[in-house]
Symmetry: C2
Amino acid sequence: MQKPKIRTMEKLSSEIGVSRPTLSRFFQDPTSVRTSTRARIENALQTVDYVPNFFATKMNRKSSGLIGVIVPHLNDLFFSGLIEAIETSALAADYMVITQNSHNDPALEAQAARNMIAMGADGVIMAPIGDASSIDALSRLKQERPMVFVDSRLQDHFQDVDFIGTDNQQSIGLIVDYLCRSGEPPAFLAMPNLNSNNLEREQAYTSRMHELGHEPMVIPRSTNGETLGFEEYAYRLMDAYFSHGNLVDQTILCANDRLAIGVIRAANRHSLFGTAGKDPSRFRVAGHDDYPLSAFVFPSLTTVTQNTQAIAEAATGQLLRHIRREDRIEDAVSLTFDAELRLRDSA
Amino acid sequence: MQKPKIRTMEKLSSEIGVSRPTLSRFFQDPTSVRTSTRARIENALQTVDYVPNFFATKMNRKSSGLIGVIVPHLNDLFFSGLIEAIETSALAADYMVITQNSHNDPALEAQAARNMIAMGADGVIMAPIGDASSIDALSRLKQERPMVFVDSRLQDHFQDVDFIGTDNQQSIGLIVDYLCRSGEPPAFLAMPNLNSNNLEREQAYTSRMHELGHEPMVIPRSTNGETLGFEEYAYRLMDAYFSHGNLVDQTILCANDRLAIGVIRAANRHSLFGTAGKDPSRFRVAGHDDYPLSAFVFPSLTTVTQNTQAIAEAATGQLLRHIRREDRIEDAVSLTFDAELRLRDSA
DNA sequence: TCTAATATTTTACGCGTGTTAAGAATGGGA
DNA sequence: TCCCATTCTTAACACGCGTAAAATATTAGA
């Protein structure tokens, strides 16, 4: 059960009786050696413990076979789902994924970008923190490696970087239309932090409301919510409103489902969805993203989908295309996926 | 804005006018060089783009400064929270974290274990898949690197590996006691997959029920739920029961909160929590873990906490202790954290 | 059996940095 | 000014494997 451990390819080659370069080729592609030799090597590997040194294999090579993924944080099922889907796609193309978490800290994000350069990642898929991101570090990364933004994108210096995400104009338009034709026009609850999604969604809401002849109403941000989870932020904010009897007959469209989940909790606390013997108010909530748990809250959340799977696959595909051909002359691609309505019980 | 790019330490040294070994020492510890030289180097680095090659730095070194984390999947806020907390702890100790996702696939888990050896990780924190895990690959890892299990542990060959997690005996006892004294004794809903937590919690439930003089009742597993999310699995299973009028007056204790969230949805669908003009049934649900969203479902979920933060910190600390001193003679540690009741509205 | 094609081995160098030892330079204090 | 302790430079080797070119062995085909 305790197989002898071989630490270098050199020793392994003398052990098996095959030259080291042959072993090297075997590990890169077993079919590149004669079948009889392959059998000999594979047999020997059964009786011995050997793992090629990861760093040494990447040293003197043009391609590292690594794809980097940088996300602003992990405590969000959208990002964890995105990573899983990227990993699956990348694995299918024989790439290994290295994930770095920014922890919402621009300094860590910059460090992550440096790590990607240092590890010779063939390309990087990045969901940036937002307007706090380090322009310097990311510009550096951009000009050293093929790169693709997902979920949210950066302005100004990054217009030449591909983007894969949701068409907020379309998705917000869809849900605003629905809410307006099925009841009162909605107010809008934005995220506490700033990124392109938040801005785009708020703008999409405002312009769509104007088009429909309604006056938009954006609920003022709370100033001290940066550190809270979205649910908690929305819960506290709305609980304060409801406690004063404000917004209790409103329809509220949230910039994402996690906010909506917090709003629903606050609404339940104030019995806005009705209780036995009391008339239900006209309160409604809708979200955006189709967060995995949105179907499980009560009332289940009406929202628009965000196709994580498709975004991840498209991002990986687009990045691999960049990696394979060297020409970066073409214009930046902006690939957005249309959302679909998920009508449930909250609106 | 476009700084010249230096690709090797060699060129950087001739650029600055400092020898390469001095630079090498500077990058490992800036205080190890004279203040005047440090200033010179730091100044030069402002005007130049240079990032040390990650692989080369790790090549000829005893310690890689890397800590590996292997999780069975990412689509779970418990694991994503665990990873974030481990990253924070490790960062504070100047370690970099490499995360590998098993995707619930024993082959991928085995590959992840090999990768940790290949990358010379100083130690590995592992949340195993469960009884499907590859004994071979993990034994190999265990005897090559310091290792710590979190969340769930493996049996038989891994009794000598430290474990950090929740004391299921205590936590399940706590919630069973509460449920029994506040209403009907609970039935138990287990997870569809097999790991030590699942087994321990079921056993803890059974034995505690016996101690209290009640007959335990474990709801039979559904056979085809391995691929579903916990929520969906529980929802479908319980929806089937409720549709036939079964278990509608029960109290159900779930092996984890995600199951409970699915149960709550099914119960809502069948109005088991009461509706206007109808008597509420005596249906109750409780969970285990205090999943981040458990407070936001309706009715909010009564559960017992699992201290992710503490588990992560203890695991990192324990691993670092192993890494620092070489003696592995001592007995394996089993560090479990007590749970606390979180009484909310579902039971 | 012989030749050509293919596969493998030998040999040698390269990747970028860690690390060591010996000698040279520097700085501070007496 | 001189001496000693630091700090630095120089030179060299190490890490484990990729890679290329030339030499050699093997195999297939006639």
